[in-house]
Symmetry: C2
Subunit: 491 residues, 2 copies
């Protein structure tokens, strides 16, 4: 078979781009920086959405929908927020086109200028807090626990499919609370939800931690994050949960009467994950043959390929295959029987390998005679002949095994790619030769962090929660430090 | 209880606005014409989405996602299409803000002007057909059966919550086919899906028909529609399915090699329903006390209200109530036990009536003694005492009854509100005095249709499919006609 993908060793970045395109996940569109998410890619996203949505509802949240547009003046109300987003805003200035005077196409109608320009939401804190103002009078109206599934736009200059696009899909939770403690609890609850999702569904181990001031969300008091490690040794921020304090309540004047009858500003959180998770999923597990998908998020979990010479043979195999499909579907699995006669088995094998289908079954005439089936695992690329009798039960446990194995492999990789260093020289050497997470002492200042970033392109991914306390000195300035933080080059 | 809503007889339009706000379905936002869909309203929309999404997948469709933005030049490629949408386009012209020179807030950075303006999609035919061009070479690549759930923007000058908003949520299916016949079949299949959804889930009877040229989608060869009748006698177009012929394939030069080896343009359909369906749902069934929701789409299908004087009584009732909640949840129903001690039963009764919860159960101390429960139906506002034993089974059949009854009521209303007329004078009289669907002969010309619209504000909602053929003469021009068409004033 001709190689479909650039190998990871040759160029990890080209491998990623090849894979996204060849596995039919997404492609660039005619609009700079905006992607088309193709059906196979979208099917994975839908599975992610379904799981996350269930987790949000199980933790007491409800969905709602807020406007795509934000009045320009709203952005300025929170000083850090506007600073963070003003430079990448798509701005709507007009609301009508007219025929071009030269008769060729259409032009913007200069008469149809908006009184105030509208920003296409880069995130919705401002429009939502302006709305919450009308919903909250007393502590009885709290908490408000809303999430929305939406598209957002950040006019990035350098884009990559899923990892950084001008438009992306995400969910953003926005909650309002009567007390600081309750808001903090909420921010942590959602961080844990994201960590659980990453580890149990994406099969990607994550470090949970808090961001430094330099890396904090624009407008947050604290940003909590889950940080994953990709196979090329670069980190990927995979979800964030922000404790916003009273910043947005103050900016939008959202007050309430508390239980003691006093007026106070409302406490807030926001939290989100996006189609960027698709990038994490792809980069954490896949190999030079294509995608490796964790069974829990694979659009097709099991594919059955018939091996036959005559239509008579195909008919016989079909009877057995369809029975198995029905059994597995009844157990809630997504199964496909690919009896397309126009494609050869070899082509199908390569295709489903490229698409990351976790389990591939092949059934031929000899299998029918022997009551067997050939079972191939995508994660290990191993094959085994099994008894057809009771195969549905074995597939269920095999899918569990694969989910666990993929996670364990990523966990082992992360362990092998995490290095403690005690000098700046060693730090730079590890970054250049090995990459990964580098644990080092830092003096806690933004200046030192910025200097490290300028000199090495590495940033502090987070200060892990429940971090081990350890006396040391900053590798750069020699100032005292009480804990190591996680550095990495990142997407 | 103080009346919460304006009555329908007083002002149907005010009643609708009151209801949307008071039942917590939606509200206007700070952005002109853009609504906030509140959690209770969004929960209904989510139920609609889940059912429709299943129906789309069962008919072979997959979901995908295409960009929010459309290059301005794309719109002009299909002549009718640009004509239909240019006058209501939100236009992005810049991609950055900067600090205002006066230091107050932010202004658009004049340096950050887009080379080509981008339109916020009013519908996605153009960007999608530009994408499909890259996906289609041969008949083997066809059909393409994609749907997307998305937000769209049409800069309407007069907006009403759900019925006409500048931004709305919808799904838009876009399919590509090798033959005209296959595309026609697809357009009809999706019309049937919409009709089934309207009748079996929304409980709204619809007339299926084809639009006249005047009312056709901009760029379509034929537009098929489902038309519903609201309680005020006005029609509401509730879903459309378009046979697009080869118009968009020609505009975007999408050709393929057919089975005979010849190059041909691809055939297309598109079809959509939107949050407008929320308007149909509300207006078709609700009454002066509030929403009446069909059980299949109600976020809460059954509510249990405890009637108690002491916490001891509440505890006893809770045991019985929670057991019932568990039983109904196990059957897949959405049930709420409202043991909020801060609200009186009377307040709760009124609240759930306003919110349209189909079945309300009340359990008090005497019920516990007698082994009974009071069952109230929202649709008929009737109450009945039933045996607690086996109540879960009775509720299941009661919910079915309610679904059927709501539909039948709407069907009866439509029958009573449909009038055949044979003269233009009678036509105008019926429209003014009774409204509803008016069946009349028409000469088939756009001119006559336009004249009728100008003079009476009534439009031809559709020419029903499988329409009875009947010789007659146009009520306006006296020209011969072979069938009656459906006129109505419409939302």
């Amino acid at each position: 078979m001709a190689k479909v993908l650039t190998s990871r060793s040759e160029s990890y970045s080209q491998w990623y781009n090849d894979l996204v395109l060849k596995a039919d996940l997404a492609e660039n569109s005619a609009v700079r920086g905006c992607m088309v998410i193709k059906p196979y890619g979208y099917a994975i996203w839908e599975k992610m959405q379904a799981v996350l949505d269930r987790m949000f509802k199980d933790t007491g949240h409800v969905n709602a929908y807020f406007p795509l547009f934000i009045p320009k003046s709203f952005l300025s109300k929170e000083a850090d927020h506007v600073e963070g987003f003003a430079k990448e805003c798509a701005v709507v200035t007009h609301y009508r086109l007219m025929n071009s005077p030269d008769g060729k196409g259409v032009v913007v109608d200069p008469q149809a200028k908006l009184e105030e320009e509208l920003i296409v939401r880069p995130t919705s804190e401002t429009i939502i807090w302006n709305t919450y103002k009308g919903w909250i009078q007393s502590y009885r109206d709290l908490p408000i626990l809303c999430n929305q599934w939406a598209n957002v736009v950040r006019w990035e200059m350098r884009t990559r499919l899923f990892l950084r696009t001008a438009e992306f899909l995400w969910q953003e939770g926005h909650t309002a609370h009567a007390t600081q403690a309750e808001a903090m609890t909420e921010a942590m609850t959602m961080l844990k939800v994201y960590a659980k999702f990453a580890e149990e569904y994406l099969a990607v181990p994550v470090v949970q931690g808090v961001k430094t001031a330099n890396e904090r969300f624009a407008g947050a008091v604290e940003t909590y994050t889950i940080e994953a490690l990709m196979q090329d040794g670069k980190a990927l921020q995979s979800g964030t949960s922000h404790f916003l304090g009273q910043n947005f309540a103050k900016a939008f004047d959202v007050t309430f009467t508390n239980q003691e009858g006093k007026i106070d500003h409302v406490w807030a959180t926001s939290w989100g994950v996006s189609t960027r998770l698709m990038g994490a999923l792809i980069m954490a597990h896949s190999d030079d043959n294509g995608l490796v998908l964790p069974p829990k998020l694979a659009p097709i979990q099991v594919v059955i390929v018939p091996i036959y010479k005559s239509m008579e043979e195909l008919d016989k195999i079909s009877v057995v295959a369809k029975e198995l499909v029905a059994k597995l579907k009844a157990k809630g699995y997504d199964v496909k029987f690919d009896d397309n006669d126009k494609k050869k088995p070899g082509w199908k094998f390569a295709e489903y390998e490229l698409k990351g289908v976790p389990v591939r079954l092949a059934i031929g005439p000899r299998d029918l005679e022997n009551g067997t089936v050939e079972v191939a695992r995508r994660d290990t690329l191993t094959k085994e002949v099994m008894q057809l009798d009771g195969i549905d039960e074995r597939i269920v446990s095999l899918l569990d095994d694969i989910q666990t194995n993929i996670y364990q492999k990523a966990l082992d990789f992360r362990a092998a790619s995490t290095t403690k260093v005690d000098s700046y020289e060693e730090f730079q050497k590890v970054l250049d030769e090995k990459g990964g997470f580098v644990l080092a002492h830092w003096d806690g200042t933004s200046e030192t962090e910025q200097r490290i970033k300028d000199e090495t392109k590495a940033t502090i991914r987070c200060i892990p929660l429940d971090n081990e306390q350890e006396a040391g000195v900053c590798m750069v300035t020699g100032q005292p430090s009480t804990q190591r933080v996680v550095f990495a080059r990142a997407y």
